[in-house]
Symmetry: C2
Subunit: 357 residues, 2 copies
């Protein structure tokens, strides 16, 4: 198989982790006789520094011309502490999601048995958890009109949804539920928000077309609670952009660490694969970041964009073995971890490559 992949390392720990995602792709290509070609492009703070634009036209063109995109992270503390900054790294990410029509963000909560103790949740609460989140990614208060009054004392963002936006992601979520546990939980705040009431209406209507799927509706506050109380009760979770952002970060603690979670953004064209974690500037450049989320993103790419299931499984198996043999990055180490087996980013990436061979 011939594929052209664009790598967008981005900011902070982005470059450190995508290096290993790419290395794994190269290894898989060699083993299975695929021809993967690569290009690289700028986004986020690094793009602002180089071009003044968080998403340079060149990056967008390369993205559209590629078969899949491997992305790292964007963000920088400099902008976080300056609420009045006009140009921000995150705008690059939001714009590429919109431009590529990446309306569905899939975030599987993968549980590696070896990491049950790395979580702050009790192992018996976690064991057996298997959730696939469908987060809407190109609508909601993220993209609604933003306003600041002239005296700067009033600020607003429009939380808005159109029927077709809910329909297209809901369909994908129902289809996924059909081939998984056949349960779908749609999360909203329909007791307060009009956008949520539209959301619920659409999901209720669609549910009739999927009688084999058990559909439930839950308020976001309750969902945030149930996710900690009893994560096993969820199979497919379907939710809006903002609620999905919050719930999936929360759910990362089920997997022990943000450093273990990958995501796939899909929609009209090229798929976009990235870790859930952010740029983590506090540990950038220190060889501390966990490369597994980037490597797992690559597994998602192979499976979802290229239909290469065997290759994808080979990767998750290699990670499984790495963990079984006791190797950990700092974020997933616990009291039982052999100190000698706590690895940096480089050594961990290298280990996975070895196990792949």
């Amino acid at each position: 198989m011939k594929k052209h992949i664009l790598v967008i390392p981005g900011d902070g720990i982005g470059p450190e982790v995508t290096t290993w995602g790419k290395a794994v792709l190269e290894e898989i290509a060699a083993q299975y006789n695929h021809e993967f070609t690569f290009d690289e492009a700028l986004m986020g703070h690094v793009a602002i520094e180089a071009t003044g634009n968080p998403l340079p036209d060149e990056t967008l063109e390369k993205a559209k011309a590629s078969d899949a995109i491997l992305f790292g992270a964007v963000g920088h503390a400099k902008y976080d502490n300056d609420p009045s900054a006009k140009v921000r790294p995150e705008q690059g990410l939001l714009k590429i999601r919109k431009e590529l029509g990446l309306y569905a963000n899939l975030r599987p909560i993968m549980l590696f048995d070896e990491l049950l103790d790395a979580s702050s949740l009790k192992p018996e609460v976690l064991r057996g958890t298997d959730i696939l989140f469908f987060r809407e990614l190109t609508g909601d208060v993220y993209f609604g009109e933003k306003k600041r009054s002239e005296d700067r004392n009033t600020a607003s963002d429009l939380m808005i949804y159109h029927r077709y936006e809910v329909e297209r992601i809901a369909k994908k979520a129902f289809e996924a539920a059909q081939v998984r546990g056949k349960r779908l939980c749609s999360v909203d705040k329909a007791n307060v928000l009009e956008a949520s009431r539209l959301w619920r209406e659409v999901v209720q209507e669609l549910a009739k077309q999927y009688p084999d799927v058990e559909t439930e509706h839950m308020f976001i506050d309750n969902a945030a609670m149930q996710l900690v109380k009893n994560p096993k009760k969820f199979d497919v979770v379907l939710t809006a952009n903002l609620f999905g952002d919050i719930l999936t970060d929360e759910a990362s603690q089920i997997a022990g660490s943000m450093g273990m979670l990958a995501s796939a953004s899909i929609g009209d064209g090229t798929g976009f694969f990235e870790p859930i974690h952010g740029s983590a500037h506090d540990i950038a450049g220190q060889d501390k970041a966990n490369p597994l989320a980037s490597i797992l993103s690559v597994a998602l790419m192979l499976e979802i964009s290229f239909g290469l299931k065997e290759e994808a499984k080979k990767i998750t198996d290699a990670i499984d073995k790495t963990l079984k043999d006791g190797y950990r990055t700092g974020d997933i180490a616990d009291a039982n971890t052999d100190k000698a087996k706590i690895l940096g980013t480089q050594a961990m990436g290298q280990k996975v490559l070895e196990y792949l061979k």
Copy 2:
């Protein structure tokens, strides 16, 4: 002390639990020679059934004329599954918050040592946690303009904040931090939302007036994660209406159950005290609800609205003893609980009264 208290039982388990809140107030009045007089009023589904209005004028008048309000819960599944319903129980609650100017919702996360095992989080993660949430309660996307297009295919809610709204609650939160752990974490989504950027600006400015308080800003997605990962790191958490709704429900799992958390809504006038839990229709009328959150709401009322610290402490001590002696409602029972000591709502309320004597 002479005080007039309005009881608004509301829907579902509301009446069952407020009964015990009121009984505890009566017991305290008798013991300390206070004169508490009571009245009752309708809100929510029960008010719609009786008057067509989720917040009848009479209830609002009585509320304004009282020294404090003890509230149960509102909500009914009937409306949840009907996104097109025009009149809803929750409108009563939102309207009374707005009308009484209850802009600050205080939600203390109280940890009873006896309940460490009732949580899905590991005891070592929980132990020592002590968080006080300040949730803004009369602004945000809850109260911004709601719209539905004529073809009903587009729906929106305006997420909006004014400087004064952020200022007044932030001041209260900083003042609370000064007499607590001297740390304040303000939660927003300033990397995406304009309303959050205003929020952050205001908190940053105010922080200069409280140099003794260590101020931190955190994105909501990260906060939802940190709350599970390491709840001990938080002291005072200040956040907007929607984010506060989500985070405090999530945080309820720190205390073992929603049935253990009380909240105080304060602002321009009469204080309003309620459990965090909702109407829980699935267990209503079955003598299963945990009355402790309502009883703890009464303790907050005595302390915050009436300045009666000793009386408030007497109540939390009584609950502490009840739990120490092994008594539990179903929601906080765990594998170690003596089956004979699992009590219904009535028996649990009665127990606390006995320990109060």
